[in-house]
């Protein structure tokens, strides 16, 4: 999918460049949703003025669209929550001393798995678990664990070792150092990983339609199968808008949650 990029090297290039698109530019954060709304407005206007066939009208009924959007968001949300619950503690664990030796192995497996095509994973899980949302969520989780895991570890590893020593040196327990120093300092990188995962999941959830998991992808497959180009275009644009919106929300959260003083 779109961000199948090896998350570790992505993080690396972002770090090396120091270039972040949202670099302090509050203006672009505000402008972003305005543009998205404008595109949505144009789409609605186009649909209202177009001469729709009966099938198209049924498929594109507002209630129907809303249901599909909710399904799509539900898939995304559940998968992302599971990813966070799995990947963040795992990332913390793998950066603790006794578990460090496993870090290379786990990262290797995760990287390796990341090269698997998303559509293949979804179909695979469907054949195994059965068609429906559960299989889709399982595939999404497997797919999105890596960026969060990699960025959690990268964020924790990037914390200056002397700060950890300073914390221990002033009598903070290992637990307190983790909670009060390491995690807060790792937040920016971790959030970037979460946003990457979210965008990945929103996009990949589109493929859920192949295994009857619902979501906006249904519009695209319906459009192709029944040769309804308006449905196809509407579906594609809605999916893109949804992904961009999720990305925007992620950026806003990153902007707010970044610890001051960094």
């Amino acid at each position: 999918m779109t961000t199948t990029a090896n998350a570790e090297s992505t993080a690396e290039t972002t770090n090396r460049s120091g270039l972040r698109v949202d670099r302090g530019s509050l203006r672009s954060l505000i402008l972003y949703p305005v543009i998205l709304l404008a595109i949505l407005g144009l789409l609605i206007l186009w649909l209202l003025t177009a001469d729709l066939t009966n099938t198209e009208r049924v498929t594109l009924a507002p209630g129907e669209l809303w249901t599909m959007t909710k399904q799509h968001l539900w898939l995304t949300l559940v998968a992302t929550v599971i990813v966070l619950v799995v990947a963040i503690p795992l990332g913390v664990l793998l950066t603790r001393k006794p578990f460090r030796p496993f870090k290379g192995f786990i990262s290797g497996v995760a990287n390796f798995g990341q090269a698997a095509p998303a559509v293949g994973l979804i179909v695979l899980f469907a054949t195994w678990i059965g068609y429906g949302p559960t299989a889709a969520i399982a595939a999404l989780v497997v797919y999105a664990v890596l960026p969060v895991l990699a960025n959690t570890m990268a964020g924790l590893d990037a914390v200056d070792k002397s700060l950890i020593e300073a914390g221990r040196g002033m009598g903070m327990s290992a637990w307190a150092v983790l909670w009060r120093i390491e995690l807060p300092l790792a937040v920016p990188l971790m959030l970037a990983g979460v946003r990457t995962a979210l965008v990945l999941v929103v996009g990949t959830a589109t493929l859920g339609t192949f295994i009857n998991a619902g979501g906006l992808g249904l519009l695209i497959t319906t459009g192709v199968n029944l040769d309804l180009s308006r449905v196809l275009i509407t579906g594609s644009i809605l999916v893109a808008l949804l992904a961009l919106t999720v990305d925007w929300v992620g950026r806003v959260v990153e902007h707010i949650a970044r610890p001051r003083g960094l």
Binding site: T13, I220, A240
Partner: protein
């Protein structure tokens, strides 16, 4: 296993198709991305524009883009190549801009100072110095586009992605699972091979003075 043994040739051909599609698109994307980066890297505003474009492009789900392109371009090779090249451009563009703009300006000045032309400076100094970063972008791109190519099979047909969709269409039928598993593993293997080739190219083409 039997499945693989029986259709060895078919699988090998599908893998080759997958590989060649991705490799060609990445090469095409590299040319386009470096050309775009050449235009952008000198101006702070254009750099930010290029970065914004990359970020937005990477956010758009590939399946949505494929869907959008079916109407104007129809089915077949063309939409697949366009989509793959589009996604392949993004990481390379980002890295090329970063790589080119982080060449120390003192170096560029000294190259100009010894009488190299603007073009010569670009091709003999700036591009070679940015090359390792660009190559990293190509590796990221090829990994990413591998997966996109599997989805592109929806409009294209053949390739390893085709095996996935044919498995899907014969749901529950004989060999459906085997076909999907083969395709998934096939894509991973092809991805690793392409990555290894790019790594090798890196070893051969990156100036020894730049290797750490």
């Amino acid at each position: 296993m039997d499945y693989v043994a029986e259709r060895w040739q078919q699988i090998a051909f599908a893998s080759w198709q997958h590989f060649s599609l991705v490799a060609q698109c990445v090469i095409l994307a590299t040319v386009i991305a470096v050309a775009l980066a050449m235009v952008c890297y000198r101006s702070e505003r254009l750099r930010e524009f290029a970065n914004g474009l990359t970020a937005v492009g990477l956010t758009i789900p590939s399946f949505a883009l494929i869907g959008l392109l079916i109407t104007p371009l129809g089915f077949g090779v063309l939409p697949a190549v366009v989509v793959l090249t589009f996604y392949a451009i993004l990481p390379i563009l980002r890295n090329a801009v970063v790589g080119l703009s982080s060449v120390p300006s003192a170096l560029v000045e000294s190259a100009r100072g010894i009488g190299m032309s603007r073009t010569a400076t670009f091709f003999r100094v700036e591009l070679p110095m940015a090359w390792p970063v660009i190559l990293t972008g190509m590796r990221i791109s090829s990994q990413m586009v591998m997966g996109v190519a599997a989805i592109a099979a929806y409009v294209l047909g053949p390739g390893l992605g085709g095996l996935i969709f044919s498995g899907l269409s014969r749901q529950g039928g004989a060999n459906a699972l085997a076909s999907v598993v083969t395709a998934v593993i096939g894509v991973i293997v092809v991805a690793m091979i392409l990555d290894a080739i790019l790594a090798l190219i890196g070893r051969l083409t990156i100036s020894r003075g730049l290797r750490v």
